[in-house]
């Protein structure tokens, strides 16, 4: 590549955090008009590298060149001036602001002392038409879909005249349809002369839209290759440093009687709007039932009514034949339901409690952990130590606060606690979110193990791949109901994607 055709060049970038070298002399370059992927395990250092490019972090060593010119990017302001824009892994949008307000924030057009909203809106409309980024300028962020929020994020960068766009895991939160739209938008932008750096864990996406890909492992560049000259398998093995199989290793399921039954359940969401509408569903021993659906179609509410965190308006839930709707979380836990919550830091753990205390978060009051009337911390420690061994939790000791552990190990505490309670029903929500391949493998194995022991497993994940790979049956949710139950062996993602968007209803063999 000739020098003048290079949009971004990072040379020997090193960034150290306490106890870890996040970027270890990383060098790579991206050509103008190229879509370049950054690929790597969790914690490989991708976000760190891009945060450096966007001026959020300062590198300890190394040089950055933009359009061939060596630059110092002290802060996002400089980055923006250099024509760099970043669409963050977690959206950076003010919920209570409108689309336009979010887009202009920081570079507001003025009329006298006040903001010139009509000019701003005009410009936003213009941009959105040009790039096919359909948004509604006057709407509040809190009221629009995730896909549209992402379009707002992209417009923010375009509004500031960005030529180089960084996308940090943009597809993690999107439906298959939205992902396709996004890919089209990216192509469109490249055609308009923009350059894109794309961080993603999904090899399919890289193969579909990217020109080049740089693979990072443990803060080091492993290789930079052209997409035309590689394959998903090759990329995967470069990424983790060993051969990986994507398929989950599991035997045929042996489903037995239904243990958990929902009958015409309705429930409201936090705003008081019906989120579950006459939903019926059965979960059987010895199976993994996957719940698929676009975020916000009642999955969260479904899980919450099952675990006692949300009230049921009507209908009934039976566990072992006994009604449990509107039982308290404790009553439900005591009827042998394990629950791996979606947000481990918010729900699953008291981060300032020790590993040991977290390991008994649901059982501290059992006689096992008491001596006379008082709590016996020694007994808790012994219990925790056993779990640490059995579940391979990497922690300095059982007295370490959970906060100090890495995400994967925090998740393992939860898995250990919930699985060790020997539940009949295990509800797992997004159990592998944000984890790397190794950790994911471990957790998948544990879930299948539970199934094989004759437990019933309910799996909710936004990763369609995960649902497809693990489930024995898949229930697709749309607008608060189950629109169909399918067998993963006889359906494809395309079909499920259509059901998720409400445009096709297919009745499974034993639909309710």
């Amino acid at each position: 590549m000739q020098q003048e055709h290079i949009a971004v060049e990072m040379l020997g970038i090193t960034k150290r955090f306490p106890g870890i070298v996040a970027n270890d002399s990383i060098s790579f370059k991206v050509g103008k008009g190229e879509i370049h992927a950054l690929l790597g395990e969790n914690g490989a250092g991708k976000s760190t590298l891009m945060n450096i490019l966007f001026g959020l972090y300062q590198p300890d060593e190394g040089e950055i060149r933009i359009n061939g010119r060596s630059v110092q990017i002290a802060d996002p302001k400089t980055a923006i001036e250099l024509g760099i824009g970043m669409i963050h892994q977690h959206f950076m949008l003010v919920e209570s602001y409108t689309v336009v307000q979010n887009i202009i924030l920081g570079t507001e057009p003025k009329k006298g002392l006040s903001i010139d909203y009509s000019r701003a809106e005009h410009k936003v409309r213009e941009l959105s038409e040009r790039y096919g980024l359909q948004v509604e300028p006057g709407q509040l962020i809190g009221d629009i879909s995730v896909g549209m929020q992402q379009r707002v994020e992209i417009l923010k960068t375009l509004y500031r005249g960005a030529d180089i766009l960084i996308f940090d895991e943009p597809t993690a939160v999107l439906t298959p349809q939205e992902i396709q739209d996004l890919m089209a938008i990216m192509k469109n932008m490249v055609n308009e002369g923009k350059t894109i750096i794309l961080i993603t864990h999904k090899l399919k996406e890289i193969m579909a839209v990217c020109d080049g890909v740089t693979i990072i492992r443990r803060g080091k560049v492993i290789d930079s290759v052209s997409v035309r000259e590689t394959s998903p398998d090759e990329l995967a093995s470069k990424m983790v440093g060993r051969q990986v199989s994507f398929a989950v290793d599991k035997k045929e399921a042996n489903p037995q009687e239904a243990i958990l039954k929902l009958h015409r359940v309705t429930a409201l969401d936090n705003r008081g709007i019906p989120a579950l509408k006459q939903l019926s569903l059965e979960l059987r021993r010895g199976e993994i039932l996957g719940i698929a659906g676009v975020e916000g179609n009642g999955q969260r509410e479904l899980i919450e009514v099952l675990t006692g965190l949300r009230r049921v308006q009507s209908g009934e839930i039976r566990l072992h034949g006994k009604p449990v709707h509107n039982a308290t979380p404790r009553q439900i836990a005591e009827s042998r339901v394990g629950y791996i919550p979606e947000d481990r830091q918010k729900r699953g753990l008291v981060l300032d409690f020790t590993v040991s205390e977290n390991s008994v978060l649901k059982s501290y009051y059992f006689p096992d952990f008491r001596r006379h009337t008082f709590l016996d911390y020694d007994k808790m420690s012994r219990h925790a130590n056993r779990l640490i061994r059995e579940f391979d939790i990497r922690t300095p000791s059982e007295h370490t606060p959970a906060r100090a552990l890495s995400g994967g190990n925090q998740q393992k505490i939860i898995i250990a606690r919930e699985v060790d309670g020997d539940p009949d029903v295990l509800i797992a929500t997004q159990p592998t979110r944000g984890l790397d391949v190794g950790a994911i493998e471990f957790i998948h194995k544990k879930l299948v193990e539970q199934r094989d022991k004759g437990k019933a497993v309910l799996l909710y994940s936004l990763e369609l791949d995960e649902i497809m790979n693990l489930s024995d049956r898949i229930a697709v949710m749309y607008e608060g109901t189950i629109v169909g139950i399918v067998d993963p062996r006889t359906t494809d993602e395309q079909q499920i994607g259509l059901m998720m968007s409400g445009s096709a209803v297919r009745q499974g063999e034993e639909s309710t």
Binding site: R330, Q331, Y339, G348, Y364
Partner: protein, 356 residues
């Protein structure tokens, strides 16, 4: 003992110690700026506080309520709540003890415990109003406890005037001797000062604080709710009930503090137009003590000595008593902004390494 030393010198305690040091240091700078002699001032401050048995007794008397309110604030902090209402709970506790002490007549071994329990209960109930409002109605406890302080002040004034007033005075009648927490013997031992058995009660409650929070299942729940209500709810702990419970227990600590002032020091309750200020100081005590029971005791000692010794400083060195409030404020400030202190610590640590 070695545990105590360890506790004193681990980093978080070190921050408190250094903050205290900075407070005293800045205090001396302010004195120098005002043309006073800091050495003389501190000398007369400590001289006043510990100069003789009488003053030592009075210093302990001054420390006692601070321990109670410090425990109260610290306990709430531990459960994720900011109790600015120790002041009001203190007043309500005092009111209940005053009522029991004046209106009931019985042998001391029933009278004293009954008054203490009544005061603790009323203080606790007063605290749990804020807990209830937080748990059920979602009103932030900082606002409600501030409001409840004023309500407690005026309500107790009204009730004293309506039921307990000593004619011709702006205070209640004197409580029966059988309910007194002070004794001639103890007072004699300390040169006739008003030291009373409330100090024993305060130390006992510090132990209760420890046991409840770290040795019981209620304590486990209270701490879990304080640190992460969402996870607690998930784990089947009743969050609302624990918020109310936490405020109740916090209020009990403050309430018993009020009891001891009535039964131990004044033997009556006055009609007040302003707050006695023990509750607000409790915040300082808790912060300096890093919200632990031992810390609260030590924090109370510091604040008690400073406030009691203030008049000695005025007498001996002419320094206005308010300098003590300034120093206390600075100490709280540096404990709160402990990053500043930690930065200082790191700097000195680095220097040390270089020297070695």
């Amino acid at each position: 003992m070695s545990k105590l030393i360890y506790w004193l010198f681990k980093e978080s305690s070190l921050v408190s110690l250094i903050a205290i040091g900075i407070g005293l240091l800045l205090g001396s700078l302010i004195m120098l700026a005002g043309g006073y002699n800091p050495l003389l001032a501190y000398g007369s401050l400590f001289g006043k506080a510990f100069g003789d048995v009488y003053n030592t007794g009075e210093t302990i008397r001054q420390i006692t309520p601070f321990i109670f309110t410090g425990l109260s604030v610290a306990f709430a902090f531990r459960t994720g709540l900011f109790n600015i209402g120790a002041e009001g709970q203190f007043i309500m506790g005092a009111l209940a003890a005053d009522f029991v002490g004046i209106s009931l007549h019985m042998p001391w071994y029933i009278h004293v415990p009954l008054a203490v329990v009544a005061g603790g209960l009323l203080g606790g109930l007063w605290g749990s109003i804020a807990g209830y409002l937080k748990a059920v109605r979602g009103v932030h406890e900082v606002i409600t406890t501030i409001m409840l302080n004023w309500i407690a002040l005026y309500l107790s004034n009204y009730l004293i005037k309506a039921w307990l007033l000593e004619p011709g005075q702006m205070r209640s009648k004197v409580v029966d001797k059988s309910a007194w927490l002070s004794s001639a013997g103890l007072s004699e031992l300390f040169g006739g000062s008003r030291i009373h058995y409330g100090i024993v009660l305060a130390l006992a409650l510090a132990a209760v604080f420890y046991v409840v929070l770290w040795k019981t299942k209620q304590g486990f729940e209270l701490r879990a709710v304080g640190l992460n209500p969402d996870a607690s709810e998930y784990a089947g702990i009743q969050v609302n009930r624990n918020v109310i419970k936490a405020m109740f227990i916090s209020g009990v600590f403050a309430g018993v503090g009020g009891v001891c002032e009535v039964l131990g020091v004044f033997h009556y309750q006055a009609v007040n137009t302003a707050f006695p200020g023990y509750g607000l100081m409790g915040i300082a005590v808790a912060l300096i003590g890093r919200n632990s029971p031992v810390g609260a005791i030590l924090g109370a000692v510091l604040i008690g000595v400073l406030t009691y010794g203030a008049s000695g400083m005025k007498f001996g060195a002419g320094v206005p008593e308010e300098l003590v409030s300034i120093m206390i404020a600075l100490i709280i400030f540096f404990v709160a902004a402990n990053q500043i202190v930690k930065q200082l610590l790191k700097l000195t640590a680095k220097n040390k390494k270089e020297v070695l």
